[in-house]
Each structure stands twice: as C-alpha cells, then as structure tokens.
Amino acid sequence: MSQSFDVVVIGAGPAGYVCAIRAAQNGLKTACVDNWKNLDGKHAFGGTCLNAGCIPSKALLESSEMFHKTQHEFAAHGIKVGNPQMDVAVMQARKAKIVSNLTGGIAALFKSNNVTGIRGTARLLKNGSVDVTDFDDPKKKELLEAKHIVLAAGSEPVELKIAPFDRKDIVDSWGALEFANSPKRLGVIGGGVIGLELGSVWQRLGSQVTILEAMDNFLFMADQQIVQAAAREFKKQELDIRLGAKVTGTDKGKAGISVHYEDKDGKHDIVVDKLIVAVGRRPATSNLLEEGTGVKLDQRGFIQVDEECHTGVKNIWAIGDCVRGPMLAHKGSEEGVMVADLMAGKVAEMNYEVIPSIIYTWPEIAWVGKTEEELKKQGIKYKAGSFPFAANGRAKAMEAAAGMVKILAHADTDEILGVHILGPMASEMIAEAVLAMEFRASAEDIQRTIHAHPTLSEAMHEASLVVDKRAIHAINR
C-alpha cells in the first residue's frame, strides 16, 4: 500500500504542522505523519508544544497565578475573599479542554487546507521513502513516496540516570503538568526556563519548591542585570533556587525521595514528595532514520542542516527542535514556513538574529537580540537605557510594578542590538522590539514613535529615551 505526495512532513508539532499547512497553501500535495500518544492513549496533533509543553504550561501558569493573586494581591485592592481554595482537578480539566480544543483545531486546519494527516510513526528509509507504522495497529504498515520530505521530529526530555523517570514521583516536564494535587514538597532538578516555570506553578499552589541548578550562573543565556532582578523577585516569592548544586543521586523511601547534591559548601540532602527532572531536551532522532539515508546527525543527535534547513540530501529538509538553534516553537514554525516556501520554488529565509525568548514566570522575562555580556565579549560599543516599571503608571495600577525594560543600542549607529524586559506582559511587549529590530531601527526611532498612555509599553518608550539620557519620567544620571 503506497501513497504518493509532493511533501511528507514527519511530525505535527508547531514546526511540522505549520510547514504542512503552508506547503498545502503553496499548492503542494502534502501529508503530515505524527505519532503523539496522550495519557489517555489517544492520538493528538500538535506535538510537545500543544500537548505537553507551551500550551498546558501556560494554562496552569495562568490558573496558579490567579490563585496567587487572590492570596497576595486582592487585599490591596480592597477585595476580601476569606480563604480561597484551589481545586486542582478543575484546573487540570480546564487545561485539558484547552489542549483538546487546540489539537482538534489542527486536525480541522489540516482538513480545510487539504493536508493528509496520518496517525502513525514515520521512518525515513534509505531509498527516500517514508515507512509509516499505524498508530492503532503496529502490524499495519504503509509506504509513502514523496518528492520532498521534512523531518520535524522534535525533541524529548533528557533523562538522568541518577533520577530515572518512574512517571509517578520522578517525572519529566510533561509529568509535572499532570499532577493531580500540588505536592507538599517539590524538588526540581534544573533551574532553566522549564524548571522555573513548573516550579512557579506548584509553588503558587502551595508546594514548597526547591530548585537545584548545577551551574553557578542562573539563566546564563539571558542578560544578567535582568536575571539578578528576577532572582530577587523569585526570592520574594519564596522560590528556593540553589545554584551550583550538582545532584549526585536519589533514593526513594517511605518518607519521600531523598535527593543528594553537592555544592561549594559540601554535600547536602533534601527530601521531597515529587521530583521534576528538567535538565534539558534532546532531539528525538534515534529511530527516525534508516542507515544509509545520507542525512547526518551531529554527536548530540541534531540533524545537520544549512541556513535554509537543507540536510545535504536532495529534497530532504529538517526543522524545529531536531535541528540546531533555540528550541522554541516559533523558531520551528518559521523554519517550517521557510521550507514550505522553498519547496514551492519561492524565495524564503529565516532571520535567526531576531528570535524572541520568553520565560513565563511572574514577572515574565522576555528578550530579543544580544545581552550586555555578549556585546562586551564581542567588543561592540553600546549604550544602555533601563526604565523601571515602578515608574510606570499602568504597572502600578495593576499592582505589577516589579521589573524594567532595558534597551541596548550601538554606541555609534544607535541601532537597537538587544531588548530585555522583566515585568508584566513582557511576553507581549517584546513583539515591538522584535519588529523594530527586523527593520534595523534605532533607539531614536522608538523615541519618535508615539506609545499610548497609560500603558506598559510606555516603559519601552522611556527606556529608549534613557539610552540617550533624555528620559522624561526618570532622573537621568
């Protein structure tokens, strides 16, 4: 049994499904093969992002933040709510509904765009065909022929030998999203984006959270001024983050899970009820390729590609988390768009320099472009302007005046080189900066663009003025 297509996309995560839809819109006969199995055993499109990552975590972050506000902020507004309770089951149900809504949405988009969605596990054979094992019946196989093949197999959480997953008490990020109640004591190995977000969720819902980060630097890839300000906020929230803490082993016992770690002060132990391992993700390429396809993997398992996502084998492309670059859904999606356009013979390119990164803690952290540390390292002369939300009317009215906007501009040309935000809605505000940087705008361009009042984005405006020491609403030093 063999079907023939112009394009077969392997993987229906944000990279794969976007690529498939765009390819179909470009007039190519497209199929998208995906094997995601949810906890209920059912198939869903959308990959990690929709099922076990971006979307469910944002739903929980929203619910937990709201609960946190009732306990810590409502009083300031004069709202008396007594003793608010959290029904985790309802929270989880809401999350599940959103996820199923969106994954169903992808199936609908496939249908309306004439993308053939295939539920199964795909493997690229050395003769260039795609072998698909049916999702429901592993004995049923199908062979797909395609002019172009796009590998969008995504990534999976890294497992630690010293803390192997048991899917109950020692869990990966997906498991951490599925707890039925907030654990009394929660340990998190890994203080990166995922560890912070998941730790935040359960800490707001009453867990005592301890995050163990092996590196001495917290969030090393972000601007350190922002990171230090964020660390102070997390401390206020009683998020216990321990740096330089290398976990050496775990033991499960009746009292809970003992986590042994070492830092510069010596050996320590903590006991937790649940342990999340969030030390990173690795490309899910181990069973993707038959020997001899010609597609090369690097030593970490990433598929090697050029800047247009060609693998080096004619008409075989790779996008998303299984190739180099930041493991971000929007990066995967835009690579998908680029490849879909290239396959249709159009001109397309990706601008890897201007990809925003977000951490959905509260306050949120968002950035695009270079950090001060990177600029110093590259010897680029720059000027910086920081404006605190404490001086922003809207933020104060929202009881969310922690954080700041920082703009880094080239000392000579004034071109914006990096924008870093800690604060409310940072994830939304960063879009202005990304657009500005795509157009190679200068800090002066932001100064001369009207920002509505009263808004949070005024802080961006003021920060651009601080770059030239001409802020109106702050004392210029």
Binding site: T413, D414, F439, R440, A441, S442, D445, T449
Partner: protein
C-alpha cells in the same frame, strides 16, 4: 496611456547630448522621480526622472547614443508597478560591473567642471523617524545614501556613516574618477550654468582628487606611453549572450556580462605576448607567471580597481561572480586593500559613459592597459558587402620602454580575433 520619455531641455542652447547609461531596463518597474538615465553634455550631466510610477515599456535609444532636446528616448507605461526594486543611490544595473571613464587629463578638465544633478525627491521611499530627522537636519538627499536595512531601507547608521565619512578608497592612476552622480562630499562643486557670470572660484582639491592627480603625473613621467587601436565586431559575442544568458543565469546564479568574455580573451592574449603582462623595475623586466587582472570599477567615492587573481583559472561564471561581488563591496566601502592592489594588467571601460575612442593611462608598475569603449552599430564591410555590426573600438596603451609596437598590436589583434570568433575562447587559440 503610454507616456513618451523625452530628452529634457538642454541648458545654454547646447545642441545635443549623450545618453550616458540607462539605470533601468525595458520591463523594469519605476517609481515617480526615479532617475531613468543620465544625459551628459559638455558641461552638465542631467538626470531624466520618471514622471509617474509605472513600467519602462520600451527603450528607444540605447546608452551611448547622441540625442537632441525633446527627442523621444523611451516609452513609459504608467500605473502597473511590478516588484519594487530597492532604491539605492547607485543604479542596480545588470551591466558588467566595470564602469569607468578613462579620459586623458585634458578631457578631464572639461568634464570635471560642473556636475549638476537635479535632486530627485524620494518621497515614496519609507524613512524611519530618526532618518527623517537626520535628513531634515542636514538637508540630505536620501536617494544618494546607500541603504543597508530591510529591502534597502536607510537605517540611522547608514545616514550617520554618509555624513561622517568623506569617502576614501585607493585611486588607481590608470583612470580618473568622474561618476555621473557625485555625492555631497566628493569631487566637483555644484555650478549653475549662469550666463554673464565671469568670476573665478578657487576650490581646494579633495584628498581623493589630489591623490589621483599625483598618480597620473607619476605614471606619465615614468612611462613612455603609446596607444594603439583596433576595432571588434561583437555580433558573435552578443549572439552567444542572447542565446544563453537565461540558461547561464539560471544554472550559474549570475548574469552573463561582457567582462567575462573580455577577461578570457585578455588572459589568452597575455599568455601569447607575455611582455604585456610584465612589469618594469629599474633595469629589469619582471615577467609574471600569473595573470591578475585589475578591473576598473566606478564607485561613488571614486575609481577603484579590484583585482581578479589568477584570472586564467577562472571560468566565465567565476569571473562574473567575482566582479559582481567585488564591485558591490567596493561600492559599499567593504573591499580590502589587498583586493585592490597588485594586478599585472588592467581593463578599463569608458564605454558605459559613452566614450567611443580614448587613450587610457597605465597603472604603474603594469605595462599595459586595455580600454573598452561604447558598442555602436556601424556600417562595416564584410566579404565585400556593407553590413551593420555592433562595433567597439579597443585601445591598448603600453609602456614602450619594454613593450614594442609589434607585441602591442598583435596583442590587440589576438583579442579582436578571439571575440569575433568566440569558439577561439573555448579552444584557446
């Protein structure tokens, strides 16, 4: 409703002018006020802006031709604007990158007098707020500034650089810089052709100009220059180009210009007459077993001669790619000094500006320079019949101290023969 593009009123009752070079090709989209073609008279170079947005449907008169005031030179179809091309101060043309005026010092004196450019208002070019402010403050013409931003937009940095830099790139002695559109800081001052005004204006030479003057004098003083001429029937080359240009561009990724043909012919001729590829030093003649061809390129800051190293080992596509790359980097000021120095022989092309016949000046320590000129349809005799052929005069100026007339003349004949029968380029005979 098609619009006829006519030669504008010529100043001071000058009878005729030369169409220098088209900045747009037939079929290109043009925007209102975009300069279509430069028209050169003895005293001034005029621009011919498009009156409205549209498509340049037909070019009636080719670059290099003589025109009179009011003459129809092109047809513009208003309205339909295809893909907007990025606006830069330099015309993005598909012609070979070598665009150099090679005039002797005397001709230079005449043409350097006045370069009046009618300022083209780029009201349709999107300018960001900071760029608008700088343009306003410094009274700049954005059309003259090279944009490095998205789609060729001007960034604040581009404008600041334009304001700060005077524009310094090493000038070569063999040719003199006189680009049709000079930027605000360089070369000749703006003069209005006002009748009745008999004052003298004393203007200090720019650094660039001083350096050019110096090198030209040195060249003239140290070498014994003599120029010999010949003419080439380029019909076969043009036929080849017409037949294969699309395929070439598709498969090789670069346009097939004339320069690759000329470079190949030159290298072959240099191999046959090695003294033309040699340099002189004191009492020694230094023969070079390599062929590094300097190709003159006009940039807004002046003339530069990037070198095609080991041109004998380059194929057509490599030559075109290399020239395109070096020319654009030279115009952006991003070319390195190493890429501009050395060279065993130079090719210069005054034809783009309309020169028919000229005596180029040698670039010491080289011993020869080939001058290419405008291609003109002329009546010539072939097999006893008068036919019309696209002819180009070619000139070699050579250092008679080490190169004799025999070698120089035969060198030129070899180039003529190879280009008139391109199979010889393939067979290297």
């Amino acid at each position: 409703m098609s619009i006829e593009i006519k030669v504008p009123q010529l100043p001071e009752s000058i009878p005729d002018a030369t169409l220098v070079s088209w900045h747009k090709q037939a079929g290109d989209a043009v925007k209102r006020d975009e300069n279509l073609v430069d028209i050169e008279t003895d005293k001034v170079v005029l621009e011919c802006p498009a009156p409205v947005d549209g498509v340049l449907k037909e070019i009636r008169i080719q670059g290099g031709a003589t025109v009179t005031a009011g003459q129809v030179i092109a047809i513009l179809e208003p309205g339909a604007v295809a893909a907007a091309k990025p606006a830069t101060a330099l015309a993005a043309s598909s012609k070979p990158p070598a665009a150099v005026v090679t005039e002797t010092a005397t001709t230079l004196a005449k043409s350097s007098a006045a370069t009046v450019s009618t300022p083209v208002s780029r009201s349709d070019m999107p300018l960001s707020p900071s760029v608008r402010r700088l343009v306003e403050e410094h009274q700049l013409d954005p059309a003259k500034i090279q944009g490095s931003g998205l789609d060729g937009r001007l960034t604040k940095g581009d404008v600041l650089e334009y304001i700060n830099k005077g524009g310094e790139l090493p000038a070569s002695a063999g040719s003199v810089a006189q680009p049709a559109q000079s930027d605000a800081k360089a070369a000749a001052p703006m003069t209005r052709a006002v009748s009745g005004n008999r004052e003298d204006r004393r203007v200090l030479m720019t650094r660039m100009r001083t350096r050019i003057a110096q090198r030209l004098s040195e060249s003239q003083a140290s070498t014994v220059m003599l120029t010999s001429f010949n003419e080439v029937d380029l019909s076969k080359v043009m036929e080849l180009r017409t037949r294969y240009k699309d395929k070439f561009e598709k498969q090789q990724g670069v346009k097939l210009g004339f320069m690759s043909f000329f470079v190949k012919a030159v290298v072959e001729a240099l191999k046959r007459y090695p003294v033309v590829n040699a340099s002189s030093e004191g009492n020694d003649i230094i023969y070079h077993d390599y062929w590094d061809i300097s190709v003159a390129v006009s940039t807004p800051r002046g003339l530069v001669t990037p070198v095609l190293r080991d041109a004998d080992q380059m194929n057509f596509a490599e030559i075109e790619k290399s020239l395109t790359d070096m020319a654009s980097r030279a115009r952006d000021g991003k070319i390195t000094l190493e890429e501009l120095t050395g060279g065993t022989f130079t090719i210069t092309n005054g034809g783009v500006f309309g020169s028919l016949f000229s005596t180029p000046i040698i670039n010491p320590p080289q011993s020869g320079i080939l001058g290419m000129h405008a291609i003109k349809e002329r009546a010539v005799v072939v097999d006893g019949q008068v036919v019309v052929r696209p002819m180009m005069y070619i000139a070699i100026t050579y250092d008679h101290r080490i190169v004799d007339g025999r070698e120089a003349v035969l060198f030129l004949v070899s180039i003529k023969e190879q280009l008139e029968d391109p199979a010889r380029l393939l067979l290297q005979i």
